[in-house]
């Protein structure tokens, strides 16, 4: 593993639209960039056996998750010619309609940004030790399963 500093990806609570707007704006000085790709995960108001999901409560094994995303980040940077990569995942209770995952990649041309963003989202969902507990309107819960 390289000596690069391990970046934190976790934020307490939802990722705000203002934060996302500011992240985009921060790139206007990086004029070599020609394409951005953004994925935002939003908590869905699912209906499961007649009960409505009102929020998802996220927890993580943070140390392991941060080491793993560091590895993934390096692999993706090696694989695609990216200028930038930003990843933010919520912890705590995120209400239906709020953003819980924000992945943002940028490159000179569009394809590496799009492909890297997609690959990051897939790997975040399958490889990071993060768990979502779906909270129903009646305060009961079930543990989310990724498909």
């Amino acid at each position: 593993m390289s000596e690069k500093k391990i970046k934190n990806i976790f934020v307490d609570g939802p990722v705000s639209p203002e934060f996302i707007a500011k992240s985009i704006a921060n790139h206007n000085i990086k004029t070599e960039i020609g394409g951005h790709s953004i994925f935002m995960g939003q908590v869905r108001k699912d209906e499961i056996d007649g009960k409505i999901v009102s929020a998802i409560d996220y927890t993580a094994f943070e140390d392991l998750a941060l080491n793993k995303i560091h590895e993934i980040r390096e692999e993706i940077f090696d694989k695609y010619p990216l200028s930038c990569m930003h990843i933010h995942h919520s912890l705590g209770t995120i209400k239906a309609g709020e953003i819980c995952l924000f992945v943002f990649t940028s490159s000179k041309h569009r394809k590496p940004a799009i492909e890297a963003c997609n690959e990051l989202v897939e790997r975040i969902k399958s490889e990071l030790p993060i768990w979502g507990k779906e909270i129903f309107a009646d305060a009961s819960h079930q543990w989310k399963e990724n498909i």
Partner: protein, 76 residues
Amino acid sequence: MEIEIISFGKISEFISNQKITIDCGTTDELKTHLENIFPQLAGMKYKLALNKNLVQQNSEIKNSDSIAIMPPFSGG
């Protein structure tokens, strides 16, 4: 020897973080032991992490190691 176990997700609802005394030397032996003392674990899909490293093959356990018990991930 004594090890520390920590659990996550659904598993944290029936295994609390605690120190346990074991006489297993490897993670495979520990799995069998854990499934005996926590019968709900048997039949569930889960992974272990040994001292914050995902266990991908049978590994040796030492005194005061930390073991995390993790159900399938569901982030994003």
